[in-house]
Amino acid sequence: MQPETPAVRELISTEKNYQSAEVWTKVTGKAIYGIDLRLPGMLYGKILRSSHPHARIKKIKTSAALKMPGVRTVLTGSDLSCSPYGIVINDEMPLEPEHVRYVGDEVAAVAAVDDKKAEEALKLIHVEYETLPAVFDTGEAQLPEAPQLHENFPGNVAWRREVVRGDPESAFRNADLVVEGKFHIPQFHPAYLEPVACVAVSEPDGGITLHTAVQSPDIVRDLLAQVLKLPLSRVRIVGPVMGGGFGGKVYGNLNLYLISALLSMQTGLPVKMQLTREEEFTAGRPMVAAEIKMRMALGNDGTFLGREMDLITDNGAYSAQAPWVSNTLAERNDSVYRIPAIKTKARLVYTNKVPTGQYRAYGNQVANFACESLIDMAAKKLKIDPLEMRLRNCVRPGETTVHGLQIKSCGLAECLAAATEEIGWTKRKKGHGYGLSAAIHASGSVVFDPNLRGASARISLELDGNISLFTGEQDYGQGTHAAFSQIAAIALDLEPSRISVYSKDSLVTPYSMGALGMRQATIGGKAVQLAAEKLREKIIRTSSEMIGEPVIMENGRIRSASGRQVDFTEIAHYYHGQTSGLTLTGEGSYVPPESSYDDTKYGNIAVTYSFAAHAAEVEIDPETGALTVHRIVAAHDSGRIINHLSASGQIYGGVAQGFGMSCLEGYLFNEGRVANPTLADYKIPTALDVPDITPLFIETDDPEGPYGAKGLGEIVQVPVPGALANAVADAAGGWVTEMPITAEKIFRILSNRGAAK
């Protein structure tokens, strides 16, 4: 159980808006981001990309580029000695030696003294291609006559999964009602405001230091060492400030990193590279597109009996995290409710389009669009209130879900009640549409790397009495580090501002999985708590050794029964002297129990789970289909909220992103080419678009998370697509089953119903 000391309560309430000092560098324009980095003697790298969706490279002539003044080196795929690599599937090369598979594929790279020269040199590289038939549609790609993208993947199927739980056949046989739908979801880009940028520095010892802001630096370090065949200790990642990530920068852009490292190793000089906004869209890693066919079986009283899903995700040319994303997309929503029988068939299919990766909630948010729409379709048929239906079926504390997730703390029913109460579910405004949606998300996933489930932290008492905390967990504005300072402050009984957090140099920070799977707050925070508690013990022990009598620690002060006071500086110096230079340090590691995952992937996958219910209120212009989203109420169970300011910020931002993907965003293609690779045409919401958002916190006390906290950063986006789809359906009388929900699509529904004016 969590210690509920007065200090904990007070800290969480009085310091609920604490922010780390870094924020001041951001409001004064002094924060240094990846794009701002400049090192003496630095070169600039640029990439020549394929202009064909599918082709064989017959010849590359680089001599003219090499001769150009200011050009220091030119690299092509045939210069590389590395083998294909990948995060899940080894299907990618930093520069493709002979076979390009999408418009944007890396073909050659140049390093020159400035970026204009590098850009010009690209034009002097002559590539002779033999074009190949290309395939852009996942259905066509699976046909026997379709062009093959990768040798080892017949039918272009990169990954497949079939799962049966319970007895779906009898569930559907015995159902009173079966509803079904087909849903289409395009690629979405996280559209962080800062494009990926890096500077690679080849070191005298043959190693590489890569300066880049990435969510999981240690994993990038592993991959760089593996692909470049360098000893792990010779690869170092140093992070500038990150201009947004949202899951899209878990691994940054690995090809860019590898190419800049190779260019730097070749020239012996630092090489800076950064993606243009257009490259971000055309050669970044948006989240997979999906076609979902789904059926649901229900009893007359609205009880869920079973669900069937047939999922095809569009991998594009290479895989990145797409298999993991497809897996979450396929099954996470099954655990929101009690659904006794599940049958899922999922395939991830290669096409000659932009490769895919991940965005914020690993596909859970787009599956929500389909699953929650279907629930409301059923509710309408059965004439049951959608709230009633969800309350009847939603998962409760202590239950184990159909895929084996063990639910400890769970405030989902309370979230549903609170969101609907706040939006005025029973006091509806005439002509407005109302929609509801619910979600679960793993907080502290332990299945990414079974050998590295947990996290560790190191915390030291400095000579000046302040505290330094070293962690591998990254903060790019979510407030993780402020929360860590708060957590450590609770353990050490002092103000959070005395605790500085260092996370940005892989040489000195503990190894970590980084910012993914909502693990930082839970797992990372827990490690901080344990480390700080260790330090506290050591401080107490050392103090009593120093003054020769037992002491207690309170409000950052240490005193003995006899009234003798010691301060942190004194102890730090004492220990320093006793050990000739060491600092008092606490190391903590939190290792959550192993996943109980079996061969069918049944089992508990995370330390704990967060829950949410969102309710939306919308209005439709009957003449045009134009949608106004008046309000989204976001009720969240993320356990105890350590920092209200940043927790609210996560909700406002995540819901705005959910709104964007639901109503505005999405890739458009023309013969495999991205047709909207700009921020003008890939429309993320402006201040005038974002609806009024009301965050509500249902603060359960989680037994696992630090001081009862659970993750929040990803789940904020998950229920939005479903809530909006249902609100629109309520107003329009039918569901838009293709994201984004545009005015034109709504208008088509109105017209088909004869309801357009």
Binding site: T624, A675, A680, P685
Partner: protein
């Protein structure tokens, strides 16, 4: 390249003349900078004579270098040519509106340029001056050579200002656009109207829609059908039907289908017309 900031119109014309076709006029640069800068630029953005908004008798003259921001907040334009104020307020973003000019909007010749559509509805004419100092006045419709192509050769002539009759007591104008995002968004369609009422019926109507053709397009049939009609719900519905039947439009992957675009033009035509009428009625009431 060379960059010349002109201090007077004569100076600008001189530089153009001497450059023999190599120099190009530049105003806010919001279009030109992305398309590629010329080898010589003659910046006319701060020429006082091109930055004025003046009323002379029944006419309003808007300088070609007036920015969208200045036009949108000009009391003169708001009162006497509301459609133009509304159109300029809808352009891009505050930053783009602070740079981009009305003249640039016209010469850039995008088919659904917001200011151009409003100006066409207001019946504006462009006053041009060439390097030999010859001035001429042109109908807006005559300035388009094709999609995104102006007949104006900015290496040898300058748009000085746009002139149109102000909206009189019995007249009103309005502009509307439809876009997927509320800022930083090019429109799927934009429509503007200028109406004159006499004895409670339409005596004069100019209704313009885009993108239909390279230039903002007048909907003559709809205009004609309106004359003599009372502005009421029935007329609005008629306009909706006539306007969308009158236009032939193309669909686009990035914006919307042709059918939907045609439908939107109808709806917006009805709306701007009624909004323009309301402006007349408001004047009559106050």
């Amino acid at each position: 390249m060379s960059y010349f900031t002109a201090a007077s119109l004569d100076e600008a014309l001189n530089v153009l003349r001497e450059a023999k076709g190599k120099a190009l006029i530049i105003a806010g640069a919001t279009d030109l900078f992305l398309k590629g800068m010329p080898s010589q630029a003659v910046d006319i953005a701060s020429l006082p004579e091109l930055g004025m908004i003046v009323e002379e008798q029944d006419y309003l003259s808007v300088g070609a270098a007036v920015t969208h921001a200045a036009a949108a907040s000009s009391p003169l334009i708001m009162v006497k040519a509301a459609a133009l104020a509304e159109a300029c307020a809808a352009v891009g973003s505050p930053q783009v509106r602070n740079l981009g000019t009305i003249g640039g909007n016209l010469v850039n010749a995008a088919p659904a340029a917001d200011a151009a559509v409003a100006l066409a509805a207001l019946g504006a004419k462009a006053v041009l001056c060439d390097i030999d100092g010859r001035r001429r006045v042109e109908e807006l419709g005559n300035l388009y050579a094709g999609y995104n192509q102006s007949r104006i050769d900015s290496s040898r002539e300058i748009v000085l200002n746009l002139i149109f009759k102000t909206c009189q007591f019995n007249e009103g104008s309005a502009f509307a656009r439809f876009a997927s995002r509320r800022a930083l968004s090019l429109p799927m369609v934009n429509v503007a109207a200028r109406v004159g009422l006499e004895n409670g019926v339409f005596a004069e109507v100019r209704l313009v829609a885009a993108p239909v053709k390279p230039a903002p397009t007048r909907l003559f049939k709809t205009e004609e059908a309106l004359l003599g009609k009372e502005p009421n719900e029935e007329t609005r519905q008629m306009v909706e039907e006539l306007a969308s039947a009158e236009v032939k439009v193309r669909g686009s992957l990035l914006r919307c289908s042709a059918d939907y675009r045609r439908h939107l033009i109808g709806v917006l035509a009805g709306r701007v017309l009624m909004a323009a009428v309301r402006r007349v009625q408001d004047k009559e009431e106050s």
